[in-house]
Symmetry: C2
Subunit: 304 residues, 2 copies
């Protein structure tokens, strides 16, 4: 424990603990085991990546945590978002990030990420901030799933103020938008970045930690009611096409992915989010259930 930087320790404990809790729950459902890699970062720090690939329930499930520090390039500092006014290029960051792609096309893909960032010594106003969120990406629409996912996250946020959920819900719809397709990546959830004005560092840690702990109650009930649903070849094909869109979003738009690739981060960890398999057809046909999904992706709804 460092008495000098208590928030660093609290956040580090949170991300490692969340990785453990989530992996344990996922292993119990899948029956398979996560493989684990510990890695070190050249510039300082490292992480622990866990991946369950080609399991019983999951095509690919990855959960990574990292604690990294060092010196940013001028460009990286500028693009990083929060703290751009800080001259000191030293940084310290920790976060947890996960993406789960189930086999069953009725069971949605899900993503979550919570992170804390400091520039310099993290003492000046705006030199520390939190970011994160969680969003759901179904191939087929089940309204009750979207409602449940949003409701659980709304309840976690409402404990910290009434404005957070509406703001972070909209932020999520804006962020996870595939511009060239004119559609959202999924049915959204919550997203926020550069959070520091909304409370003290401890208050915001509590908010982020509550969101992180909302992940399992938000996702598991959905997974459990979809993972054994019967499906046909055509549903699998559509899921594969939607996985292609997931790849498009992550490689073309996702700021974390682009930043990681450009700054030569650990490739295997950065691209852990990509599905095991994906498909691109030229002008794919759509039936009515596929069209129903697209309607929602083209016109985000209020779910709670």
């Amino acid at each position: 424990m460092s008495e000098e930087f208590p928030i660093r320790d609290r956040m580090t404990g949170f991300v490692f603990g969340l990785q453990d809790d989530i992996c344990e729950a996922i292993e119990e459902i899948d029956g398979g085991s996560f493989g684990e890699d510990e890695w070190e970062r050249d510039g300082g720090g490292g992480g622990r990546s866990r991946v369950l690939q080609d399991g019983t329930v999951f095509e690919k499930a990855g959960v990574g945590v990292s604690v990294v520090m060092g010196e940013l390039s001028e460009r990286a500092a500028r693009e990083m978002g929060g703290g751009a006014h800080i001259e000191d290029l030293n940084f310290w960051a920790t976060g947890v990030s996960l993406v789960f792609h189930p086999h069953n096309p009725m069971a949605p893909t899900v993503h979550a990420n919570y992170r804390y960032f400091e520039r310099g010594r993290g003492t000046e106003p705006g030199s520390w901030w939190f970011g994160g969120g969680s969003d759901l990406t179904p191939a087929y629409l089940f309204e009750e799933d979207a409602e449940h996912f949003h409701r659980v996250h709304k309840e976690a946020l409402d404990a910290h103020g009434p404005d957070h959920y509406p703001r972070f819900k909209e932020w999520c719809d804006d962020y996870f938008y595939i511009e060239h397709r004119e559609e959202g990546r999924g049915v959204g959830g919550i997203f926020f970045d550069n959070l520091h004005e909304e409370g003290s560092v401890d208050e915001l840690f509590d908010l982020v930690s509550d969101c992180g702990h909302a992940f399992l109650p938000a996702y598991l009930p959905i997974l459990e009611r979809r993972m054994d649903m019967p499906y046909e070849e055509k549903h699998k094909r559509w899921q594969q096409l939607r996985r292609g869109r997931y790849v498009e979003f992550n490689l073309v738009y996702d700021r974390g992915t682009k930043f990681g690739l450009r700054t030569k981060g650990r490739i295997e960890s950065i691209l852990m989010s990509l599905p095991l398999t994906a498909r691109w057809e030229y002008m794919p046909e759509e039936g009515s259930r596929e069209r129903e999904m697209l309607e929602v992706l083209e016109n985000p709804r209020e779910w709670v």
Copy 2:
């Protein structure tokens, strides 16, 4: 025919003719037929896209031609490369572009693209230029294939001067480089852009046209000796992983793709180059034949 712009007509005739020739040859080999879409562009012009999907030999084969014109945004004009010094934002362009992904993992993916571009009326020095090239992307290394592909393109270029092939070969290795993987997309071929100082517009048209006509003799003999080779599940898996890298290159680095997505071009035509299926494993295992391929991708060779 337009007497005012004879090169536009020659180039347009070339790209449409090459599309016909190549599609005919590919249909004969595959047994399947290309579907065709004619499309119009909002800002002016249009194109003809042909795709053969899930055929006998090809997983996906797309050949598109377009003739487009209109006014560029300042940003597009700046990023377009050649002709950046021209104030007139009007442009005129035509090109042919193809990507073939065969089923058999021993048969390589291939790409070719030849294009002509004008800014303003195309009369000032540097206000017109040619671009293009062709490159081969095998999942498994057959040295004689890489040698043949390079040799045929070298012969086409040598007829126009001894310096072209070495220059365009290196340019190709530099361009089709997946920086975050520190490997080439494939075994290269030729690539050039902003070609206008190397000869008159007619001389450079002849060079480009000879390269375009070299495509079938460069690729077909390779395809024919690989398309029926026996293979196992593990070879297919490796091919799918390499297809994933192809997607990474096209979405993260390819200038044409990025430009097309940003300027809201016709998505189906822009992403026609993506494979039908692709795969991303976390830390995939490699055997010796896979390692042999990677060696060459990491260290480009001289093939002729």
